[in-house]
Symmetry: C2
Subunit: 547 residues, 2 copies
């Protein structure tokens, strides 16, 4: 690394995530935080009041021994105290462990033990999970005590937990000012565990620096400001709700916390979105779809034309994007990332102005892409050896990422070299980058066929085969090949009574695929195996395959 | 500083200002840079092409020995090559010295010597300044060579400079790729010298880290994005044009570089602003006022309703703000800062939505204020001992600042403790912070009267005295006092034939000032001394005062 003439600037002023709450409390003291408690009631507070409670909490932390080096877990929905802990825990140099309440119990035990969590903050509604955890020896060996979060008097809560404190009792009558200290910026403010399909959850420890820069990055990518009203819908125990809560605070935006909700009461979330004038919310298509259905059933469609609905997880369906746009004016913004990337690394905010004339269909198609990299992160697509591929819209490669908010290792996990390459994190996602800079994913790496040092997209090939009028269903897998490493094999279900040959398939694929990419075998079957949730079971196809 | 659990993130990935050009060239390769050359002609290029030229320049730097540790000065207008050097110089770990071509020659010599500049890049139109500098022994002792920037063939340039290179010749036929290295983030990317009213210019060396964070900060404060067209009007040799060029690049915005202009051809700037659809521009009221006059004279007023005109230096006059708004829809955004603060620390973007009902007059009055602190910097007002004063809109104090883009020292200048206090930089500006968080300046510190540990605003008092119908002009100065340190004395010019007494003044000031603040003496004079440019000469009043 090059080192030149030293600066005169405050370079040792550390980037602390809690500084954004200080900023909000001094510059936007009266800005509202609207929040829903576990009983469904809505309440209102503001940044000045929240900051006073966070100061009281810091005094309580001092008493409990929560400080620099402490791991403190949180089991909660998107509620006010969870929001307070987002800033209170890092403000004293401690690390907040996100406890995903939907993890398998054994995984949650593993996460608590692996992270060496000393305290767990738990909402009263989640006491059963905490009590189950507390019975495990691994948990008892690290957790010193529990803090129950409830609006009820502590006398009304009965629990089998030991060394129990109550959040509101802990902070009551404490001073509303605290003598804050700076935290060294590489100290972890949050810890999250990613759940792969194989192996144990892997720990990603976000630094104050990485979260601070991610916060500024997504504020920019989404143009968030103090005229916005922001609702974190994605669970706050899941990749820190994509950093949306922190960005809202840094922007001085109004915040709406929807509390606990499920598919059954998604109407409450939709109502709040409308009545509070939410302009930024995050979620997956599976969340936004029922919200759109709810809105469709209203006697009058609301005007949500200022709203940017940040959608992750999967490519948003056209019907969802168009539905929101036509009915309410709200814009779905597809964003991309992973636990390892804090998570946002690209977003599809507005269509670039210099793309020339695009048809309406082309515009919608472009809006479905993962979008443009956020300023601050480097993104490239690369071949299996890590060599960068051209940004030509056709070269397919794995997405590689590096930058200040991309992980460079997993916490205390030695055997993970395959996920890193020369300082870059390998996403396992596969796609193209267009000449205009848009990332468009085509596959997960495990769905890609590696043949002769090149990649063939099984999803593209399946879609191509489906274009043949005689084909009802299709699945393409890669099978081992001595010479080419893998070769594609297609399983095809013909429409009733129709005939389909390898030549038919070769012909229909001929326009989009090179000759060497065409499947060597086309196997006609009556049906394709599916998993319990109805997805194509390619794993089974691969396992059952024999030449 | 607290230190806790280490993170797994890329915390050693350095913040490099040149990374924003890499980002723009890969994500916004075709985005236009429109620029005006010294002959007045307009040209167009794009980020991909600019990046290739910067790579060529880096190869040339290798040959010249410009690298980590080199100070390289630039004498240029707002032209393309200046813009390229903004990124090329820091990209190799070197530091770009901003040479303010309006500095007194002796000061410019001092700046070159003090910064130990080894190379100077000079536009052909500014060769006379360079040649004058080159005659000085102090300059010859440090500058090794000169690089002339011109569109003409080098054979057409005649100069007395020694060891002269030509920018275009230097980069011609060089490879368009370069093996970039990271630069340690506290390395200075730019150096600027501030010109106080007393003493030598003082060096402020901006780090890659500070400029990077400042860039993200102002992108957020101004909501800059890739749908914007940005024109840096403030000279690029003056506090890096307030970081607007860097923010434009980070945002992937179109850029319009107006080249050389003066009050005489400000119409060219106005025309470009209109015809290129500029949405963000920066300048002082003294620049925006003639642009408004030009627009007023057009047969049809242009629609500039997307434009944010960032105005610094002094409080923008109401007529200027209203004039732009009424005629074109453009919004003047008052921003505040200094060389020592990179410079932007506050901006008055949009009126906060939660202020309740404001009259139109109140809204305009609020828009005149310096605005809200940018997320990332801490701002407070403090008494002379550094104790923070309440944000109540009435407590008057000096503005103190700290944060990642605030200077903590001057380059190799020992005797500057009075400008720093406990990690904060003292601005010398005096004002209030309202309960809603707005900074409103009232005075420069030297115009404030320090009496009994409190401050009295001379400007407020003068305005109060002018409310008396018999008063034509007034000046208030602080005079030494054994007991109270200073006491106010008012000089008053009555309207023809009118009578004004101390009691009259006390009465008219009575509503706004406490009794102890009232001037001890009111001195009736026939006229007030003025400087050569017509400003009240308070220095002379203070010098001539005797009890």
């Amino acid at each position: 690394m090059l080192r030149g003439i030293p600066s005169t600037m405050g370079d040792d002023y550390p980037l602390n995530i809690s500084s954004f709450l200080t900023h909000a409390a001094t510059v936007f003291p009266d800005t509202e935080i609207v929040h829903r408690s576990i009983d469904g009631a809505w309440h209102r507070t503001d940044y000045a009041q929240m900051r006073r409670r966070v100061a009281q909490l810091a005094h309580a932390f001092d008493e409990l021994g929560i400080g620099a080096g402490t791991m403190a877990g949180v089991l909660d929905w998107n509620q006010l105290r969870h929001f307070e802990l987002y800033f209170a825990v890092p403000s004293v140099g401690a690390t907040m462990l996100q406890m995903n309440l939907r993890l398998a119990p054994a995984d949650l035990v593993y996460v608590v033990e692996h992270s060496q969590a000393e305290w767990v903050f738990v909402d009263e509604s989640l006491l059963p999970i905490a009590e189950q955890l507390a019975q495990k020896e691994e948990v008892r060996s690290t957790v010193k005590g529990w803090v129950v979060m409830t609006d009820k008097p502590s006398s009304e809560i009965s629990t089998s937990l030991e060394n129990v404190h109550f959040y509101e009792d802990l902070i009551a009558d404490r001073p509303e000012e605290y003598d804050w200290q700076f935290v060294e910026e590489t100290t972890a403010c949050y810890a999250g565990y990613t759940t792969g399909t194989t192996g144990r959850p892997k720990g990603i420890y976000y630094s104050n620096r990485s979260m601070y820069l991610h916060t500024l990055g997504i504020m920019n990518a989404l143009k968030m400001g103090y005229t916005d009203t922001v609702m974190p819908v994605t669970p706050m125990f899941h990749v820190v709700s994509w950093g949306i809560p922190q960005a809202a605070v840094a922007a001085g935006a109004r915040v709406v916390l929807p509390g606990r909700f499920t598919a059954d009461n998604i109407g409450d979330v939709a109502e709040a979105l409308i009545s509070e004038g939410v302009t930024v919310a995050n979620g997956a298509p599976s969340l936004f779809a029922p919200i759109l259905e709810y809105i469709k059933a209203l006697p009058e469609a609301p005007d949500l034309s200022r709203a940017r609905l940040v959608s992750g997880a999967t490519e948003p369906p056209l019907s969802l994007m168009k539905g929101f746009s036509d009915l309410t004016g709200a814009q779905i913004i597809h964003a991309y990332g992973a636990s390892e990337t804090s998570p946002v690394v690209s977003a599809n905010w507005q269509i670039k102005p210099d793309l020339g004339e695009l048809s309406e269909a082309e515009r919608w198609d472009l809006k479905r892409a993962q979008g443009l990299p956020v300023a601050g992160v480097e993104m490239k697509i690369a071949d299996p050896t890590g060599v960068e591929l051209p940004r030509d819209g056709t070269s397919v490669g794995e997405v590689f990422l590096r930058g200040p908010w991309i992980t460079t290792s997993y916490h205390q996990l030695a055997d993970n070299d395959e996920r890193f390459h020369d300082g870059w994190w390998r996403s396992g996602d596969v796609g193209v980058i267009t000449p205009a800079g848009y990332l468009k994913l085509t596959d997960r790496l495990k769905d890609v066929i590696k043949s002769g040092g090149e990649w063939i997209s099984s999803i593209d090939m399946e879609n191509g085969i489906l274009d043949h009028p005689n084909v009802l269903e299709a699945a393409v897998i890669g099978v081992p090949d001595e010479k080419y490493q893998e070769r594609p094999v297609a399983y095809v279900v013909p429409r009733d009574g129709q005939d389909v040959t390898r030549e038919d398939i070769a012909e229909v694929l001929g326009e989009r695929f090179a000759k060497w990419q065409l499947p060597d075998q086309v196997i006609i079957v009556e049906e394709l195996p599916r998993t319990s949730v109805g997805k194509l079971d390619k794993k089974l196809l691969r396992a059952n395959w024999s030449e």
